[in-house]
Amino acid sequence: MPESLLAVLDALPYLLEGSFITLVVVLGAMGFGFCLAVPLAVAQVYGPRWLRPLVALYVWFFRGIPLLVFLFLFYFGLCTALDINLSAFTVAVVVLGLISAAYQSQIFRGAIMSLPEGQLKAARALGMSDAKAILFIILPQALRLSIPGWSNEYSIILKDSAVTYALGVAEIMARTHFVATRTYQHMPLYAAAGAIFLVLTWLGIRGLRYLEEKVRIPGYSHHEF
């Protein structure tokens, strides 16, 4: 067997362990981002007038600066300045989550705004408070419409998670590079890492498509927004 293949096979279990960490980072970040993004989107669409520009400001800030800069800023800067001791892993999840919240909020906002105005009116006409109407009528529909956007966001965060290697998070990229510098089998190992990412992307997109199908409203045609 060629040496390169052996190196890859040898490293494979180690890299797959890394995939697990990658997935935890990605899912953690998406979950955290989701929890932030929903209120952000609702605030931007239905919130008081003074709040809307603040959400826009948040989005502008977190979409305008590179992930790597945020990682350094939080890990080396803010954590030290504020004297909080967070692991690289935690910082990675938080930073990816804060950035993802900016993007996800815009996905949800688009979805909310694409719903017909009558949905909110009908809910109000039944005596629902705006909070109830948003919670029980608007969000269930908007979140369904957001799944394709989510799928996109997943593949972006998955790839971005490789950047957390810069903080030493032991995900796929870090492990690949570590093995590569010791075995000098750079090319085959990077190819393997690339393949793992392709598989993870594919799996995630399949999973979300399955979810989309699963929660699809019968007869309802999703219009684009």
Binding site: A122, A125, G127, F136, Q141, P218, Y220
Partner: protein, 252 residues
């Protein structure tokens, strides 16, 4: 004379420079079916939506059973809206819920009924509008007439004291109009108080207690159907009525 169940006075609404409602007043007594007619753009929808504050009037007062509604306050507003049913021209069923859940949801979330109680009530209302067999369908799987009947069931389940109906049949294909009008007629016979905007002249003629003709944000004339359709005082009323009647007879 009996006190009106719903009374509105001096409702004004403007969008930008354009005055849509110019101080409209009307009142409905218990069990009455009052029909609002007028050309498109007259302000009928705006008036109906102002009555339950889906559109905020710039001025005007509203009383339900003699009690004035101060619409600025949340809880009172939500309570008031529960007592005023609203039927929209384009149904506005909740697209992500089955017919049954559409009727149940406000019972559970707003009136805090138990799921079981809400289920039974919703089933009863859906059967009443003739949809007992379609309760598990989603809005996109129902015909227009069926959708509008679900929306009527949804409003009825809240035990409204008054119903506001905004052209409930205008979005329907001609062959589906009858089934919805039949439901509304039955409601009237059971004594439901209703204020309805419509162009269904024959229906209005046969069943309305009073016809209100509106134009340019003002009530031009009101009276029993025989008077409005037969010998209206106002020139514009006569013009409008003859035009709609012509259209209606053409359709037959």
């Amino acid at each position: 004379m009996e006190e009106p169940i719903l009374k509105v006075e001096g409702i004004k609404k403007r969008y930008g420079k354009k005055e849509i409602l110019r101080g409209t007043s009307l009142s409905i007594r218990r069990g009455e079916l009052k029909i609002l007619i007028g050309p498109s753009g007259a302000g009928k929808s705006t008036l109906l939506q102002c009555i339950n504050f889906l559109v905020r009037p710039d001025a005007g007062r509203v009383w339900l059973e003699g009690k004035e509604i101060h619409h600025a306050q949340g809880r009172e507003l939500h309570h008031y809206r529960q007592q005023v049913g609203m039927i929209f021209q384009d149904f506005n069923l909740f697209d992500h819920l089955t017919a049954l859940r559409n009727v149940e949801i406000a019972l559970v979330k707003v009136r805090r009924m138990s799921r079981n109680e809400a289920h039974d009530r919703a089933m009863a209302e859906l059967e009443r509008v003739g949809l007992g067999d379609h309760v598990q369908k989603y809005p996109a799987q129902l015909s227009g007439g069926q959708k509008q009947r679900v929306s009527i069931a949804r409003a009825l389940a809240m035990d409204p004291k008054v119903m506001l109906l905004d052209e409930p049949t205008s979005a329907l294909d001609p062959e589906l109009i009858g089934e919805v009008l039949a439901v509304i007629r039955d409601l009237g016979e059971l004594g439901m108080t209703m204020l309805m905007a419509t162009h269904q002249i024959a229906f209005a003629q046969a069943l309305a207690n009073e016809i209100v003709f509106m134009e340019d944000g003002l009530i031009v004339e009101a009276g029993p159907p025989e008077k409005i359709f037969g010998c209206a005082e106002n020139e514009r009323t006569r013009e409008f009525c003859s035009k709609v009647m012509e259209l209606y007879t053409d359709n037959r």
